[in-house]
Amino acid sequence: MQLDTVKMLAKIKNTQWALADIDWDAPGAELVTGDPELYAKLKVFMADLMWIEHVGARAFAAMAKKAPDDTLAEIYRYFHAEEQRHANVEMALMKRWGMLEGDADNPILPEPNINLRLVIDWLDTYSDEMPLEVLGSVIPSLEIALDGALCKFLLDTVQDPVCHAAFEKINEDEARHLGIGFHVLEVMGHGKLHQLLVKAAGNLLNPKLIIGIAAYLPLLNRMRDNLVKLGLKEERLYEAMNKYKRIGGRTEQGRRNPWFQIISHQSAMVVDRKSLYHVPVDALVRLTDHYPRRWLKATPTWVKGLTWKTAA
């Protein structure tokens, strides 16, 4: 099903909102802060969620450069900013719940885990060079996991009405992101199959992409482990991945996109505990724990753009 991107862009422009639209001082914070067990779990979860949104934002920035037309490029520019807004909202929620370290008026950004850092490094160095097929197929799978599993988990766990109000807005944005995501996934399945396959094989041999995959796979496994530890039901992840497979594969074009097939299979393995896939990837997770921090690049300045503030 083809989507009218011009109408979608108009809709995106007409449905903008700001952090100032949310009453951050409204009552309800005690529903989180008054529950020490929930508080401790959420602190880790929120930081991870914020970072995932933030790296997603950077991926959209890279996609804007590769978009085949001006409308889609403009949509990706908006999505880049909207994902940043989501990360900002999540930071503001952390601020509301007293989860940020440092001075109250000048809190410190939570430290990303090593796998996030490696993905940030890779995005900063190589994402602008990646073809749209790769990022355009990965992003919907991440979005659907975020939307279908993480956010639902959060809203089931947290009763603070401000959190619900904020995520109502975030979910509306994410629905549009998914709409465009699956549209692009299908568009990239157009063309002769053998050409699509040759192109995908060529991309898979790109050393820059191989480094990206080596950074991305352990991140997924670490996140899955963290989430399950926090109480997220694994079925939720299964459901999300099945949704990706179902929606992405609903048309012939979608199914013909080799990257959709690769990611569908890879996602199925991620959520299948018994898969042999986890042997090398879990080993990579353990290995990255020993990754020398001095080998990391200096934190890119786009990371420093995150803020919990409503006004600046």
Binding site: A18, Y78, P300, T301, W302
Partner: protein, 506 residues
């Protein structure tokens, strides 16, 4: 072939004051606008012996664009020796690239030295032009004044003369100060203020370094980064001024050298050639040299070919952006609020003042006021799909009406005044032909105009301007009615060739 009617339009339009033709003197030439083009036309017309000239000017002093654009840092991005008339060179330019005040003084000097002030009727705002084919006379309707009648009219109101606030969501709600770059409020004190600048085009890159010096905080909202190249500016040494004054041929030689340097730029700016790549390489190296942070550099990297939009010539813009009190914001703007600007990443950027460096309403699809030609035909309606003219100066069905900076006369690489001089020379020849009294009017043939435009659009399709970026050179649907697809030398040759067979002489 278009059918022409030699009958004055009478009905179907709004009523306006009419004067008894017998009582109103008909001037030979009426010029709209007392900027560079208007004054240059008057000087050259007089030199050709046509002295019955009136200039109507909506402002209260001469200068046009350079009178209006007096924002801090305003300067020309073409060297002054080339951005001046060849027939009125100024040996005293203080800098390589002069500021707007000095350029305005030069224009005032033109009016003064050529005794043009008696011809100018200030605060005369043109509301409409109507041609009477029977009489061969234009009626120039003015706001609150008696109309003026003229045999020929030169439209020299300038393509960049209409500035307005852009149509942005919530703009009317902003409670702070709003300033447009082309209508600068010199009484507003920026010291200690938080300022937002919307736009990063030619005006913005000149304003921002000046604002950063005085304001408390400057937030620059960028939509599309442009190509920035270094500007080789310098203070003119006294010896050069003395030499130019004593030996004008030396200044002419410098002007010629600059002309040919700029002409060579066309190879990279107008068409996609290896020189385009060389210029882009220069732009990339310049950015790498001036911008240390990789992310900021990425934000400032254009994603279109150099020349597709106007190239920004500045050494101060990138350093200004990196000052501690300055911030580049490349998030899209969601809306303007009471207190400032809300960008899509969710923040409200609260400011005391918003500077709109958002450009001008360039007349690509219309005329600045209603123009009715033979049989009441409406130029605005005819241009609704994109402006078209014959050699940029005349439009079929609108006899004795001449445009400076008309359709497809814009340069992308050389001095606008070089193009203007060629147009003025052409206009003087055409008006001179009519002024002999042999004809009531001269009107370009529709088929000649059509053939001209078919050719020019074919040539434009191969240029960088039409290579995919959005710019003020193009209309909303991508039609290029502003630029000339060639060298200034080619434009001059086009304008030097007056083909009588392309005209109806009535």
């Amino acid at each position: 072939m278009t059918q022409y009617f030699d009958k004055a339009p009478t009905a179907g339009r709004r009523s306006r004051k009419s004067a008894d033709p017998a009582a109103v003197k008909v001037v030979e030439v009426l010029i709209v606008g007392a900027g560079f083009a208007g004054l240059g036309s008057a000087i050259q017309l007089r030199r050709a012996g046509i002295t019955d000239i009136a200039i109507v000017e909506r402002g209260s002093e001469v200068g046009g664009t350079w009178r209006d654009n007096q924002y801090p840092g305003a300067a020309c991005d073409i060297p002054s020796n080339l951005y001046s008339f060849s027939f009125a060179q100024n040996p005293g330019w203080s800098r390589g690239y002069s500021g707007s005040r000095e350029i305005l003084e030069y224009i005032k000097g033109l009016a003064r030295d050529h005794d043009l002030l008696p011809l100018i009727r200030f605060q005369h705002n043109v509301e409409a032009l109507d041609f009477d084919g029977g009489e061969g006379i234009w009626t120039v309707t003015l706001s609150g004044r008696e109309p003026i009648k003229a045999r020929s009219v030169v439209m020299a109101q300038g393509p960049l003369s209409n500035a307005g606030f852009p149509n942005m969501r919530g703009i009317e709600s902003f409670q702070g100060k709003k300033i447009h770059s082309a209508r600068w409020d010199h009484s507003y004190d920026f010291a200690g203020k938080r300022v937002a600048v919307i736009g990063t085009g030619a005006s913005a890159v000149q304003i921002i370094p000046e604002l950063v010096k005085v304001a408390d905080k400057v937030k620059v909202f960028q939509r599309t980064p442009g190509w920035v190249l270094p500007r080789f500016d310098f203070q003119s040494p006294d010896w050069a001024k003395t030499l130019f004054a004593k030996l004008p041929v030396s200044q002419t030689a410098v002007r010629e050298a600059m002309y040919w340097i700029h002409e060579s730029m066309a190879l990279g700016m107008i068409w996609n050639t290896p020189m385009t790549r060389a210029l882009e390489l220069l732009g990339n190296r310049f950015r790498e040299m001036q911008v240390k942070d990789a992310w900021l550099r990425r934000q400032l990297t254009p994603d279109f070919k150099i020349g597709c939009k106007r190239v920004l010539m500045t050494n101060d813009y990138y350093p200004a952006l990196q000052q501690p009190n300055c911030e580049l914001i490349s998030w899209p703007i969601a809306s303007i609020s009471e207190k400032g600007i809300r960008s899509v990443e969710g923040l409200e950027h609260q400011v005391d003042c918003i500077v709109f460096a958002t450009g001008f309403e360039v007349s690509k699809n219309g005329t600045p006021f209603p123009v009715h030609g033979l049989g009441g035909r409406d130029l605005n309606a005819e241009w609704s799909g994109g402006a078209q003219a014959y050699k940029s100066v005349q439009v079929s069905g609108y006899p004795n009406l001449y445009f400076t900076f008309g359709p497809n006369s814009g340069p992308g690489h050389n001095s606008a005044l070089v193009y203007m001089e060629s147009q003025i020379d052409y206009i003087v020849r055409a008006i001179g032909k009519r002024a002999t009294g042999e004809f009531k009017y001269i009107d370009v043939r529709a088929d000649a105009q059509k053939a001209f435009n078919t050719d020019i659009q074919k040539r434009l399709a191969k240029t960088n301007w039409n290579s995919g970026c959005k710019s003020w050179y193009l209309s909303a649907d991508g039609f290029n009615s502003t630029m000339f697809p060639g060298f200034a030398t080619q434009f001059a040759r086009q304008m030097a060739d007056f083909r009588e067979r392309d005209y109806r002489l009535v």
